[in-house]
Symmetry: C2
Subunit: 296 residues, 2 copies
């Protein structure tokens, strides 16, 4: 199997869970429809898959962490719904379909996002792991998704748009908040939730570092793909950042150096997997390689 096929197999578990998990919560019909419209609109399910695979590699059972894994996709989805709003990026389309507020209306889109974000924390509590570890993982997610993480990164990103003189360090910090924190936390929370199954502090540290590295690599590659074009990007229209006058890795350090930097981070991520073996370890290594292979 190729890494894409393996990713799809893991994603299918997430897909099935996501498709059913909101149905029995007594959510008002119109709101449920709007939440599911965006939640089930496709995507690679990368974040939940990272939770699952790290947890399983470290000894946890898939069923034990699936609700927590699903919560990361709910958080990712809510952020896309709110980012698309007219007051934000004002995007009419998301993955080739009308964005939530175009399909429904703005009020519904705001509330669908609020609902998904709130339910996400509810599903986190369903993790079948020692309660102290669940609390630790929830605290991590709140920090990563919150105002010093994903939400804060969006604010910083907007403040950088069109601004001259954004430095590489500022760009790095902004991305680490806006997209990196959630990817890092996906890996790290998977490891935290496997502590009851034997995962050690070193495992948690490696998961965090792996997540940090592939998160940065992912962002650099996305910036590169914005220049060279690729269907496999994270879903942004080609050239969008360029057109808005944003600083990107290629504009700051050049195309070739960006590609080399992404390669370097991916190599470091793969090295972190050395203590592990088995299909999950192989998959995590291939997944890291796949990120950067897209630009070679």
């Amino acid at each position: 199997m190729t890494v894409k096929e393996k990713l799809a197999v893991h994603a299918a578990d997430v897909e099935k869970y996501l498709g059913e998990c909101l149905d029995d919560l007594s959510i008002p019909e119109g709101l449920l429809e709007s939440m599911k419209y965006s939640l089930m609109a496709g995507g690679k399910r990368l974040r939940p898959v990272l939770v699952l695979v790290w947890a399983q590699m470290l000894g946890a059972k898939k069923e034990a962490v699936l609700p927590f894994a699903a919560s990361l996709e709910m958080i990712h989805t809510y952020s896309l719904i709110h980012d698309d709003l007219p007051a934000m990026d004002d995007d009419d389309l998301r993955r080739g379909k009308p964005s939530n507020h175009k399909k429904f209306d703005e009020a519904t889109a705001i509330l669908a996002g609020d609902g998904l974000l709130t339910e996400a924390f509810g599903f986190m509590t369903k993790a079948d792991a020692p309660p102290a570890d669940v609390v630790e993982a929830i605290a991590l997610m709140a920090k990563s998704a919150g105002s010093a993480g994903m939400v804060g990164g969006q604010v910083v990103d907007v403040s950088y748009t069109g601004r001259d003189g954004v430095t590489l360090e500022e760009l790095r910090v902004m991305h680490s908040m806006k997209t990196g924190a959630l990817i890092l936390s996906a890996c790290k929370s998977g490891a935290i939730l496997a502590k009851g199954a034997g995962a050690t502090a070193d495992d948690v540290r490696r998961a965090e570092e792996y997540g940090r590295l592939i998160g940065v690599a992912f962002q650099i590659v996305d910036d590169v793909l914005d220049v060279v074009g690729d269907e496999a990007s994270l879903g942004k229209p080609v050239g969008s950042d360029e057109e808005m006058g944003k600083s990107t890795y290629p504009t700051l350090i050049g195309l070739e150096e960006s590609k080399e930097l992404a390669r370097k981070y991916v190599d470091e991520a793969v090295e972190l997997l050395e203590p592990y073996s088995g299909e999950e370890a192989d998959f995590l290594a291939e997944l890291a390689q796949y990120i950067v292979d897209r630009v070679y």
Copy 2:
């Protein structure tokens, strides 16, 4: 001390904590300013005070539950920010000051709300209680604030506006979702977080029932005050629901019967406090009475 003075004393603890708790989280400056603008805009701090007083009455320490209590005010505040948005209620004013999106802008208001909601769950994890109880209390809050609770209630409320034939039962369910769930959960989470200090399942059940009853009474009284007018209402402009053609308790069952119904619920709430004594128990009884006294 009057009940209002006692409420203010408890609220002062919450106020102090809220004023400082976001400062050391590395939140981008503009976002932090917007979050604190709404969070520190006043209000009775009823929800966090209910957490504190129930927890303390059942043996928990104030410091142990203060972060969790504060999280309820963050959730309440985020809901007000998002409700005021142009796509929702389009309110330019909140408590006599410009609403968040008027003071800042819509994008900032959306993100400030998202940030407060996310941080709320982070502060819940800081409760100093047995981890299993913390997880239980977080699950309760996610359910109450989520798409089958507060967020869902907002959707149902909008769907009822201007609609003929809303029944008393439909109105009751809508309010129990939109405002009741959070008040119920304030009391119940306080009791849950006191389980490690000796609170029993019966205590938790009484807290839940007290919260349910005063929540309904509060809503009925607010509807009554919309008709008869009172400065002490929950903050809605007098007559606003009437003008929008909404069904309310007085329009459905009449003014006098509404007042009697609120009185009945408050009496039941006070009865639930019979097993308890001391200043917290006295305060909770006086608080319930105070709700309904406003219309007599």
